[in-house]
């Protein structure tokens, strides 16, 4: 969009070059003005449509097809079977339905615990680092490092720590502290759930820390001074000043963390090398494995759509409840 920079006076500068200056100055700008934002948005919209919206619609369509290995090469031949995939995968009496339900509970427990601990560590770090002291900048950088690491590098390192015979965890627990007599397996069996949880908290808590730190910068110092003059101790200040001021940040942070961990694929995929034990069979891994093991993309899509619907309902309910509470407080 070329503009004239040589126009000598204000009147002539108003209309842009390329649009002949006729009639009232404002008129010709009207339609252009209203089109411009859409042009600016177009690349983003096209990309979002191509990579997110259209595949999502296709995914819903796929979930209604018998898209098994026989039809995957040419999916126009896949028969339309309506809701049959949903009935088959969500039927809680069938083996597949039971496995899916199990995976759902594992994922729910994993998300809630992971979000809870990540938030707890994040708020602790943000509060103790609120006031300046020597070494604060170094600690802040250090605490952010797990989040800055590429997820696979972080998780591979943890899988080394958790090896039964060569890992640090068993070395400390069994050899150095003598807390346990046998070397437990951490990456298979019941322990695998807790391993996964620790790795996820290690990786996610810095994000909570970063957001809460940003939120704390908006809390005016006078509030703390006023609270201190009133004789409020540490916990009182935390409860009456810090947490209420962080409420808007927390609302978004908790939801985002929940959705991320509920959809988490990377952590279990790298930690267990592609095949998660059933105790740590998160839903994304479950869908991935059942889709690519049997090449039954139809039922894989049905499970994905069901997952999406569940998350939409949860998010909507969460936003409704928290918004209503905010209105009450206001």
């Amino acid at each position: 969009m070329a503009t004239s920079t040589t126009a000598p006076d204000a009147d002539r500068r108003e209309p842009r070059a390329g649009s002949p200056a006729r009639g009232p100055v404002r008129r010709p700008r009207g339609p252009r003005r209203s089109l411009l934002p859409y042009l600016l948005l177009a690349p983003a919209v096209v990309l979002e449509l191509a990579i997110h919206v259209i595949p999502m619609v296709v995914g819903v369509w796929m979930s209604l097809l018998e898209l098994t290995q026989f039809h995957i090469r040419d999916w126009s031949t896949a028969p339309f079977i309506g809701l049959e995939n949903y009935r088959a995968t969500l039927d809680l009496n069938s083996a597949a339905g039971k496995e899916l339900l199990h995976s759902f509970w594992v994922t729910l427990a994993y998300s809630l615990l992971s979000v809870g601990f990540a938030w707890l560590l994040g708020i602790s770090a943000a509060v103790v680092l609120q006031k300046p002291f020597r070494g604060r900048a170094i600690l802040r950088a250090l605490f952010l490092t797990p989040y800055a690491l590429p997820v696979y590098a972080a998780v591979i390192t943890w899988s080394f720590l958790l090896q039964r015979d060569t890992g640090l965890v068993n070395h400390v627990l069994v050899d150095q502290l003598g807390l346990l007599n046998d070397r437990p397996f951490w990456l298979i069996g019941d322990n695998s759930f807790w391993s996964l949880l620790v790795v996820s908290v290690w990786r996610n808590w810095p994000f909570a820390f970063l957001c809460l730190m940003a939120g704390l910068q908006n809390v005016p110092g006078e509030l703390y001074e006023a609270a201190a003059i009133d004789g409020a101790g540490f916990w009182r200040r935390l409860r009456s000043v810090t947490l209420p001021m962080l409420r808007p940040v927390n609302l978004v942070l908790l939801l985002v963390l929940f959705l991320w961990t509920f959809n988490d694929f990377n952590t279990p995929f790298v930690l267990f090398g592609g095949s998660a034990p059933e105790q740590a069979d998160l839903i994304s891994i479950h869908i991935y494995r059942s889709s690519f093991k049997t090449w039954d993309f139809g039922s894989g899509s049905a499970m994905s759509v069901a997952l999406l619907l569940f998350l939409l309902v949860v998010s909507a309910a969460y936003l409704l409840i928290t918004n209503r509470r905010r209105d009450d407080h206001a």
Partner: protein, 279 residues
């Protein structure tokens, strides 16, 4: 405000525990990268029996690490630059114009970020494969396909953060530029972008990190030729030997650039998050 003794000790304990939690895995990564192979095959040791840089040399030949590295570099850089370019225009529109669909756009874009990746994976996989068969445009198992996919992954958050940044730039500057005869695009490039450089740089690094660390799509959408680090690094665990020392060395090498970039720019992330949250 004076700190009580209890608060001081509480702070020290919390900081010590958090530091230990964060540092121990990092320490193991760094020291194990300097261990000879027998050290990582037998019981764990806190310190290499004989510190060596050999893993940093061997890691290039055990797996084709250089190829994975180049693939990751190409994919992540192009995806990051394109993503930021697209995000700048979108954020400018959202920040400076009131138009119909503005709210819908913001909500839709942000919510796609929250949808399960697995939901896009199966259809996108089939679309790429079928598009390749039908038109010859190779998106499956190509770097182009990965670039297009990844650039949309960082787009929502980039737009959101840039809107926050742009909103914090006083509109008076725009108006002054317009009085001087600048059109919208010149206002964007000569007034707004120069004032938002830290935000743009932070968003670029974020987009790069997103692509650099992505695992799910990389594991399905690549073949041996287009494989990125996210999948390639798992090649060190062969059936006979797990080269933990080389894995740690490679992890360290691929982590350093993104960690340094992120930490150098962390305060701009904080500023961007603050700007976004204020709204």
């Amino acid at each position: 405000m004076r700190e009580t003794a209890g608060e001081r000790w509480g702070r020290r304990i919390v900081l010590t525990l958090l530091t230990l939690f964060v540092v121990v895995p990092l320490y193991v990564m760094v020291t194990s990268a300097a261990k000879p192979l027998q050290d990582v095959q037998n019981g764990f040791t806190w310190w290499p029996s004989r510190p060596t840089l050999q893993p940093f040399i061997d890691m290039w030949s055990t797996v084709p690490l250089a190829r994975y590295l180049v693939n990751s570099l190409v994919v992540s850089s192009i995806a990051a630059i394109c993503s930021v370019a697209v995000a700048i225009f979108a954020a400018f529109a959202v920040s400076r114009y009131r138009f119909r669909g503005r709210g819908v756009f913001s909500v839709t874009v942000l919510s796609t970020q929250m949808f399960p990746g697995i939901l896009f994976l199966l259809p996108l996989f089939l679309i790429y494969v079928n598009l390749g068969n039908a038109t010859g445009i190779e998106l499956y198992a190509s770097r182009t396909g990965l670039i297009i996919t990844y650039l949309t992954f960082s787009l929502p958050f980039s737009i959101w953060m840039l809107v926050g940044y742009f909103d914090s730039i006083p509109r008076g500057l725009d108006e002054a530029a317009q009085v001087d005869g600048a059109g919208p695009l010149r206002t964007l490039f000569q007034v707004i972008l120069p004032a938002a450089v830290p935000g743009v740089v932070a968003v670029t690094v974020y987009a790069f990190m997103t692509a650099w660390g992505e695992v799910l799509f990389a594991s399905v959408m690549t073949d041996e030729g287009s494989r990125t680090l996210a999948v390639g690094l798992q090649g060190y665990s062969t059936q006979f030997n797990v080269y933990w020392n080389q894995i740690m060395a490679a992890s360290l090498v691929v982590s350093i650039p993104v960690v340094v970039g992120f930490l150098a720019l962390q305060r701009y992330f904080v500023a961007g998050l603050t700007a976004g949250a204020v709204k």
